[in-house]
Amino acid sequence: MIYTQSPLAIGLFIAFVLFVLGLSFYLARRTSSAEGYYAAGGNIHWMTNGIAFAGDYLSAASFLGICGMIATSGFDGWMYSIGYLGGWVVALFLIAEPMKRLGKYTFTDALDSKFNSKSIQLMAAISTLLVSVFYLIPQMVGAGVLVQPLMGLPHWVGVCIVGVVVTLIVATAGMASTTYVQFFKGAMLLIVSTTMVVMVLFRGLSVTPENDGQPYHDFTTLYTDSALVLEDSSYRVIAGLDSIFGEKGFVKLERNNRESIWKLHPTDEGYRLEETLFTTRLNDGTRLFNGAPAEEGRFFPVGHIKELRVGGEEVAATGPVGPFGFLSALTESTIVLWGTGYVSDGDGITTIYYQKPTPGSQVLRPGLRFKVDNATPMEKFNFMSLMLALFCGTAALPHILIRYYTVPSQAAARKSTIVAIAGIGFFYLLTLFMGMGAMTSGVINLLDNNMSAPLLALSFGVFLFAIISSLAFATVLGTVAGLIVASSGAIAHDLLDNFLGLKMTDRVKVRAGKISALVVGAIAIYLGIVFEGMNVSFLVGWAFAVAASANLPAILMLLFWSKTTARGVAASITVGLFSSLGLILMSPDMWLRYGKLPADAPIQFNSPALISMPLAFAALIVISLLTQKDVNIGHVTEPSGN
């Protein structure tokens, strides 16, 4: 519809895949020990590890999801960037060096370093697997979402391509190949995103954004009297004020056998009608886009400035502009955002996207997505809970934490985290410009805002689009590789080796890890296909909330409270895991997915961290105090002596 299948994008993606596969097979010859497979031998340079951190962390949710959210919701999308980056401060100041000191291959190692407790081994491994799978699903779904428009292939093919390639990468050389895939992907992401932002700033802002030389759609405004008699007599009213459309504030018109829907705005003389975009799902399942099948291409990308102001004066275009000039011009201007309305009539359900001119000063502050103005206590609670989960989730993600085992020292762990903060923080600054650039460049697909960054690139030509698209695939590859390493470690090392006590030789441990990677890869492919259509950022939010609740209280109390016991740690993981999952399953968002009304959900918030995290802390403290006589451990801030 509004996508181009680019041979260049396909070629670049294939070249990247061949490169990483070649690298994986090369590194596989040097990966015969368990240290080599699970921790890349522990000798990765801190600078390489820092960029690999960025490659691991900046997933499809960051690159596609945040840019898309900023493009449609302004500053509220950038709140995710701020929260995610804040999480790295927790990782640096509290977690990085102790993780390196205490663990060997997995997150469970660190938690269990002083106890050798079966309950910790089991619960931490389950938590690792659950968090990793929640994170895996949206990445795999993202792969399918990308491959459909870019290569013209079905969703399941995209999922299979990414699943097979990543499983091969991990099963050949484990953490070594994963590290270098993430390093290249992280470096490419920073370079290409910077290039795109420079191009956005060089092009500047305009009220008539061009899309690779194509003029932007010219939105029509019609005027009527109070009886809805149109000044332009070429239009005929087919659903007026007394129809179901009229009740919802719209009218349906027809001209030259083409139907169109218009938003009603009362004026002194009658009505002003603003053109809309709409999709219709007919009762027989057929989908129409602006009244026609998708192949006719009537549904077009949107996003423009209604009134552009610089220094208080209205202008048509700014020309090249600096980063702060770009943002201040947007702050002064009026930007057209898009509201959504639903009308159900005898033919089917119509979703209508209508123009909502909004002052830039409101776009560049919270409130468009999160309800903060005149919010109810529950809405305030939900917002605070989300910001807590974003802040605390990063330092508890198992696939991120295992990167600390790949460097040779605690100082290297610390320095690689600082490189990660620099790289990820810089990327998150860029997301604001990419998202706002997409919002005002006529490139937003209202049906799927995840494609905003690739479509912004397309507005500069097919070459940049091809690079960004292949990079989006690489983004999925890098993150999924890290997740499969974490999951295979949880199965082979935590469950088989430690929990079940199978006495495995070094060679067998590596083989078990590779077989686990194959199994997890197959599961990931299956889930990626089954969850087609699920919002990419939805499950990432789950993963953060569950990780923050199940893992962070346990690791923090282990490090900083000397009375922590093995049973306390296991109880904390159990309570955090199941309370966060239970609250999510009872949330309004899930009620909607069950096909019920969100208002009927047992709880009225979507983010559970503000309840489940304190519960996990409380469980650890109470159980630890009750089991003091069982185990006496010292404060674990000193080296384990290994």
């Binding site: 980056l85 640096l92 409130g367 103005d373 290994n642």
Partner: protein, 88 residues
């Protein structure tokens, strides 16, 4: 049980100093983050105030991201000095 580090680590005499410094710096950043969240929750209009041509929300966002990096560099500086002082 096979939990120790994958590579042999020497004894780090600076660990206590680094832990203490890390906790202090964490609370410093967390307070700044908390203030940002609370302003959004209880005084959302304050985020629309124009400061140096930008909304206060944008200024806060840039500040939080840049502050994280600046604090990280300062933390590393003092940790490196402590490692030299205590481990040599």
């Amino acid at each position: 049980m096979g939990h120790g580090p994958a590579v042999k680590l020497g004894k780090d005499n600076a660990a206590s100093f680094k832990t203490s410094l890390g906790i202090k710096m964490f609370f410093g950043y967390a307070l700044f983050y908390l203030l940002f969240v609370m302003l959004n929750v209880f005084y959302p209009k304050s985020m629309e105030i124009i400061v140096f041509g930008q909304t206060a929300a944008v200024v806060w966002g840039f500040s939080l991201i840049i502050l994280a990096f600046v604090m990280a560099v300062i933390y590393n500086h003092f940790c490196t000095q402590a490692e030299k002082r205590y481990n040599n």
